[in-house]
Symmetry: C2
Subunit: 338 residues, 2 copies
């Protein structure tokens, strides 16, 4: 026997609010979406009803009616997610999440398996999100860029190949240039670099920045060895540099991890930092902070990158005119190595 006059619904509906406030559902809807045209006192009454009922708009219904989802996808290639505790990735996501927390967009994290990208593709195009943020491992995979035609997408890091996608990147060139200038200003005349992979934008751009500073200062730019951004590769590169038998009194490492690797080799060879060789890194991560002497390095604003991406995406969704390229400035963190 059902004795209930009013069903004990778990969540109140707009209709119930309307009833309590003595207005129509349309008016409640207007108040919820703060439409300009609703009398202050009516709005007040509605809001009271809302709070007493603890009403929360149903996203699904709202989305269905308004034809937009108020949620964005965070696309993470599976290979990226496998990189346990990649500080870059974690921080970018943090920036994204924190920015979105102040909007009423929801963040849908989807890890896309490279083997069957169709699932992701369909999800994105299925009208389930209003836009997407793509963060791949080392900022170069724009394989989703074709979707940009159908859906606002913002990438982390500039693409390897031209393309015309929207992306946010740190100004790698300028950062590397500044790092190198620091070495030059310190009186160093034989400045080497341990560059990153030359098939990755950060690797390429940081090498370019180093070159630019050197050329402008009229110094040679032949002391280059390539690493793969790991400490071990940094050590190996440093070793090759020293084996050349030419003097080296300054080093710009394309990231802190390689700088840390170089430290060990420098120590092995009895070279003192910064006395014999001044060193500057890039990224300002854990590695640079824990080596001794503490590494002077280029700060990479990773969290800001994330929030900027989110900001741009929200703007794009709103139809706001937006520059395709956003380059965030770096800053030099002066510590003891240069």
């Amino acid at each position: 026997m059902k004795t209930d006059a009013v069903q004990a619904r778990s969540v109140p509906t707009l209709e119930m609010v309307a009833a309590l406030a003595g207005v129509s559902r349309a008016t409640v809807s207007r108040v919820v979406n703060d439409s300009p045209k609703v009398k202050p006192d009516v709005a007040k009454a509605v809001n009271e009803a809302i709070t007493t009922l603890n009403y929360v708009p149903n996203r699904a219904a709202r989305s269905l009616a308004s034809r937009r989802t108020q949620s964005v996808a965070l696309v993470v290639p599976e290979s990226t997610s496998k990189v346990f505790a990649d500080p870059f990735f974690a921080s970018v996501v943090q920036g994204i999440a924190m920015y979105l927390a102040d909007t009423d967009y929801t963040l849908n994290m989807i890890i896309s398996s490279e083997s069957k990208p169709e699932k992701t593709r369909r999800y994105l195009l299925g009208g389930n999100v209003d836009g997407a943020l793509v963060v791949s491992h080392h900022s170069s995979d724009h394989s989703w860029s074709r979707l940009s035609e159908s859906l606002p997408i913002v990438f982390a890091g500039r693409p390897l190949t031209g393309g015309d996608s929207y992306y946010v990147d740190v100004d790698n060139e300028a950062g590397a240039e500044g790092a190198t200038e620091r070495l030059i200003a310190g009186g160093r005349r034989n400045i080497a670099t341990i560059a990153g992979p030359q098939d990755m934008p950060p690797g390429i751009d940081r090498l370019t920045g180093w070159r630019r500073a050197l050329r402008r200062a009229g110094q040679g730019d032949s002391l280059v060895e390539i690493g793969d951004f790991t400490p071990a590769s940094g050590g190996a590169a440093m070793r090759r540099l020293l084996e050349r038998g030419v003097p080296i009194d300054g080093l710009f490492a394309a990231n802190d991890q390689m700088a840390a690797g170089a430290y060990s080799v420098l120590n092995e060879h009895g070279l003192r930092i910064p006395h014999d060789v001044a060193v500057v890194g890039f990224d300002d991560d854990y590695f640079g902070a824990t080596v001794a002497p503490a590494l002077t390095t280029v700060h990479h604003p990773v969290v800001e990158m994330g929030s900027k991406m989110a900001e741009l995406l929200v703007g794009l969704i709103a139809g706001k005119p937006t520059e395709r390229v956003t380059r965030l400035p770096t800053s030099l963190v002066i510590r003891n190595s240069a």
Copy 2:
């Protein structure tokens, strides 16, 4: 002038599929949700229509009609998210995401600001998700546990205070016990520990495990110093341990980071690892892998923790009977320090 007979809709609807397949919407819906009662040939025809149209069900509509969202929330306290690149957090999330990728649940990441928890609360109770996963920094914040009555929730790590929430944890006690047994089996008779904070479950449990092993072996358990899980605190604790002036030939550090800190101090004092002092850590993270000699440590199955959490939550949502406590086994990673 509108000349279009058929509106160029971006995404096809169930209705369009029905038309193309020559059946009713109801039937298409049945096929999509693979209901058992639909003739094979009809189903085939529908599926063909689906693929040619590239149809994707609209989540919002589906959710509205079915009264369930097919999405779960990942709740991250803001303070946790601030811990840049916390490997623990990143890996748990990876596990969660990877498990969910094989279901058709969507993961809604929401970072909840401690200052206004109401927003999160309302979101969770507003019927926007079918369940929630809570990952706080060091596995103890169950402040959301009260919501468990209204919504399935699974936590990472056991709560500090009793409570009756569902949670997944690594078996810290057993892990620590095994680590200590390794030291005992190695003939060590003066085994110290650098414990974690005693107001955090992992800190407490790992100390308990150490004690249990020692007592069972009839050895004393007074060589205890507390750290806060950072390398620096590990170094400081080690120093205090040595200052006691009593012999120490074995050390169990409650995590790898503190073990790394202890390494430095041990080196300073001219003590060789493992010759003079055998060391075992806990977590099996980056720190333990990079110190020299490589650290013998207890493997913490972090990714598995995440996937297990997701698995349990999906089960709970489906109404499956579930144990409140799930403890994942650890394993000892034998390297060179013990």
